[in-house]
């Protein structure tokens, strides 16, 4: 079970010559199996929130719980896809996808089965022996997704996974992420800069304030996951609403506010 409870979470970084409050007393609950999108001005602490949920950044105060356990370090069934994919250039596609399983000491035959499945799912099976350097941006992104899939995670954290892609590849992979979620029903947290992506992939969309980040608003988005949602008036209304909320948070810079 992967219910996520973030309570009064504050994170302060000790920088080289100054301290940065990245998050200040942030509260957020995510239901088991719920897909959520997080959007907010650049530098407001979105990545920090994901890292804290993944157990890679310790809270300065407050707490994060996943399931019934407080998060104190990386958790077995949490998968994280980083802003720059986090692929290792020196490992082949297959070994990159298998990395999480290898670290978790999953026996080799089981590993091979899970990795083959995951690579097939994202359409990279024939590139199993290539290196990331030989893949296109979209393929690298799919590999990062495969690595997370292979873990059979019940909580999938994604930090702007599609931001480096062109519009077509991006829609293609958004569809892939939606399919996988519909199939597996894992809890999903997607950080994105794209309003359309947030509305397409988040049953609720969480808007954060500028740094230090707190929850500014939560937009309910019940039609998410419906067939052809993207072409409905409701989709456009939801996007417009988010745009207004973000403008109010100064997400579009001085000019807009």
């Amino acid at each position: 079970m992967a219910r996520v409870d973030v309570q009064a979470l504050s994170v302060t970084y000790e920088g080289v010559d100054r301290r940065v409050d990245a998050l200040h007393s942030l509260d957020l609950s995510i239901d088991d199996g719920e897909p959520i999108a997080i959007i907010g001005p650049s530098g407001c602490g979105k990545s920090t929130l994901l890292l804290a949920t993944a157990g890679l950044v310790a809270p300065t105060s407050g707490s994060v719980r996943v399931g019934d356990e407080p998060v104190v370090g990386p958790r077995l069934h949490t998968a994280l896809i980083l802003q720059d994919f986090g692929l290792l250039p020196w490992k082949t596609v297959m070994h990159n996808a298998a990395l999480g399983l290898e670290i978790r000491r999953v026996p080799a035959p089981e590993r091979a089965r899970l990795v083959t499945e995951a690579l097939e799912r994202v359409g990279l099976a024939e590139f199993a022996n290539a290196y990331p350097g030989e893949l296109s941006g979209g393929m690298r992104q799919r590999l990062a997704v495969a690595r997370a899939l292979a873990l059979e995670a019940d909580l999938l954290l994604m930090d702007e996974p599609l931001s480096a892609l062109d519009a077509l590849t991006r829609e293609d992979l958004q569809g892939l992420l939606l399919d996988i979620w519909r199939q597996r029903g894992h809890t999903s947290v997607l950080v994105t800069h794209s309003i359309e992506e947030a509305v397409y992939l988040g049953r609720r969309v969480v808007v954060l304030t500028p740094r230090p980040g707190r929850v500014a608003a939560i937009v309910e988005n019940p039609e998410m996951g419906d067939d052809d949602f993207r072409d409905t008036p409701a989709f456009y209304e939801r996007c417009a609403e988010l745009r207004r909320l973000l403008a109010a948070e100064g997400a579009f810079g001085e000019a807009a506010s």
Binding site: G86, K91, L99, G100, Y131
Partner: protein, 251 residues
């Protein structure tokens, strides 16, 4: 396959240019101390099995052992220093004080301590290679992008696994570059130490031929030493191509 052919053609061309330059230079200088390529190579062929090969093997053994030792000691230490600010804070000043000191000045000390056999030469070359690799490995480990480490840690990797999956492979290409650069230094130091004191090795052979005024023999020795360097360099390059395959993709 194509690449191999291109490489062979490239080498053949380079050898031809070098031989031509040598020939021209020999004609200009016109001294017995600089024989042309034809007589030198002829002597090289005549002496190859009788004198050059045994001496070259002694020299090769010294260099290979030293470089292996220096690398085996320097890489783990350098990587740990690069990844651990606390250990680095203690060790870095020591390194920066000792790195610029030319280790070769310790040769006399080593000769007194270890005699004139292989040991002082191996110690000296090991020392020099050690420092070059140490500094490289440390810098390479420091330059590893935090994202790589974070992604592996998010998968549950502990310290040793981060080393195995990220730090070691990330630093390998730089270590190989440093090793290839060290080959030149190592051979130079080998020649120096063998010619200063000793009774064997290709460096000794060259200096011995020089004192006998046997210039052709001397040149045969010089060719042997050059070949030794080229072979070592190429072996490292081949090893790197195998071990660091990902650096060759997409070019």
């Amino acid at each position: 396959m194509k690449a191999a052919v291109r490489k062979i053609v490239g080498y053949a061309g380079a050898v031809a240019i070098l031989l031509a330059g040598w020939q021209v230079l020999a004609m200009i200088v016109d001294s017995p101390a600089l024989p042309g390529p034809a007589p030198a190579l002829q002597t090289f062929g005549n002496l190859f099995f009788a004198a050059l090969l045994p001496e070259a093997l002694v020299s090769a053994w010294r260099v290979v052992v030293s470089m292996a030792l220096g690398t085996a000691l320097a890489v783990p230490l350098g990587l740990v220093l690069g990844r651990s600010p606390r250990i680095d804070a203690v060790a870095a000043p020591l390194i920066f004080l000792t790195y610029p000191v030319p280790k070769i000045v310790f040769l006399p000390v080593l000769l007194v301590l270890f005699g004139i056999g292989s040991v002082p030469k191996i110690v000296l070359i090991t020392l020099i290679v050690f420092f070059q690799i140490l500094v490289t490995a440390r810098d390479a480990a420091r330059a590893i992008p935090p994202g790589s480490v974070l992604s592996v840690r998010s998968l549950g990797a502990g310290g040793t696994q981060v080393f195995r999956h990220v730090v070691v492979p990330a630093a390998l290409p730089d270590v190989f570059t440093a090793l290839r650069i060290s080959t030149g230094t190592a051979i130079a130091v080998l020649f120096f130490s063998e010619s200063i004191a000793g009774t064997d090795g290709i460096g000794y052979y060259i200096i011995d031929a020089w004192s006998r005024i046997a210039y052709r023999d001397m040149f045969a020795g010089i060719i042997a030493m050059a070949v030794l360097g080229v072979v070592l360099y190429e072996l490292l390059e081949m090893a790197e191509a195998r071990v660091c395959r990902w650096t060759r993709v997409g070019r």
